[in-house]
Symmetry: C2
Subunit: 226 residues, 2 copies
């Protein structure tokens, strides 16, 4: 059985890759990085290093043209600035629930569909992706919810006559548990990048930098990428 | 309310467009053509003419790179020849059920995901697509089944927090009923193209040419594109 892993170059997808390699062996794992038009190339450079570390096949796919009409703050084409505050604070400003400004329109649906199509062509029967419980708090990212995953997985299975399915092994873990799982598998977190900005060093103050710092802190260790 | 219609340039999507224009008015309809790497450009040229006829906004999007690893016979990159026989005959050869060689891996999932992302960016809340009952006979095209549509629609609604949904108004019609519906709306079928080959005139012998001819025959009229 061959599997495809969506690999952004962050903590979550790297943990997914570690799990897939553990279960299926590096020879049967294909890492797939998608460039969606983000403001920097850091994640992609990290994804390459991580795929290289694991000696898995590695593909890149550019989907930035899908989002050329969007004004999401993560995109290079948007003049909006990325907010430098925690997701908790952003959700509070939204009245407790709502999509955050860094939600790229249906990005995970697009990525999972394309990954399934590519997986089928490469004779891989599963697609791994790294959504976890913190992503869906307050429906900040609606394409990370359990309901989205369940229906998307059903759509992929139906639409491929069962030749492909989705796996989200981190779906019921929070970010601290994701890091704990990855540390247990010796995932090469030193090569990962989470920050939404593309400066030389992580900004430390965007939503994902704050989440990352808290996850390492909860595990009582220093972030190996800092 | 604005809506996006997936417009290939064939009979089914043209009927969808006719229905959407009837319901929402041309000013509120966006036609979206996707080039998936097929062997010819005929469909795209037809889609442009049809969008122009209806005076709706028109976008084109190239997804051919998604299928560059596939060997499906419809693709320009495949050396496989397109079969010149009816779907009924092809299904018989598959033992009554199975995906046909012209199934492009999870193409409709990819198209619907991307169309949903683009619709969201353009502030359109619905995506129309033209799957009908004949497409799913014997699961020839698994991404045209009722089950696929239902789960994909659920995934889009969940993954966009209800900001977008899918509509498949032809889902319970056979091809003859689709043509009947379009004729009632004076859909410009003379501009449509169905043939999988890209010759000057339709081949008349591929699965989709045979289906099309039967649908016009069932309505007792000549094909206006011939």
């Amino acid at each position: 059985m061959k599997v495809t892993v969506l690999l952004s170059g962050g903590i979550d997808s790297t943990t997914c890759l570690a799990l897939a390699v553990e279960e299926f062996g590096a020879d049967n794992v294909i890492a797939l990085n998608m460039h969606y038009g983000q403001k920097h190339e850091k994640e992609c450079l990290c994804a390459r290093k991580i795929a290289d570390y694991y000696k898995v096949k590695y593909y890149e796919h550019d989907i930035s043209s899908v989002f050329k009409y969007s004004n999401c703050s993560l995109l290079a084409t948007s003049e909006k600035e990325i907010k430098h505050e925690s997701y908790a604070k952003q959700l509070e400003e939204l009245g407790g629930e709502g999509t955050v400004e860094t939600y790229v329109p249906f990005r995970n649906g697009v990525m999972l569909s394309i990954a399934s199509a590519i997986a089928l062509s490469l004779e891989a029967g599963q697609v791994y992706y790294g959504a976890h419980a913190d992503d869906r708090a307050g429906r900040a990212y609606p394409d990370c919810t359990v309901e989205f995953f369940a229906s998307m997985n059903q759509a992929v299975q139906e639409g491929t006559s069962g030749m492909c399915c989705l796996k989200a092994p981190l779906l019921y873990m929070n970010k601290a548990e994701v890091v704990k799982t990855g540390l247990g598998l010796k995932a090469p977190y030193k090569y990962t990048w989470s920050c939404y900005e593309g400066s030389e060093k992580p900004c430390g103050t965007c939503g994902t930098c704050i989440d990352r710092a808290n996850a390492f802190k909860a595990n009582g260790i220093e972030d190996p990428a800092l």
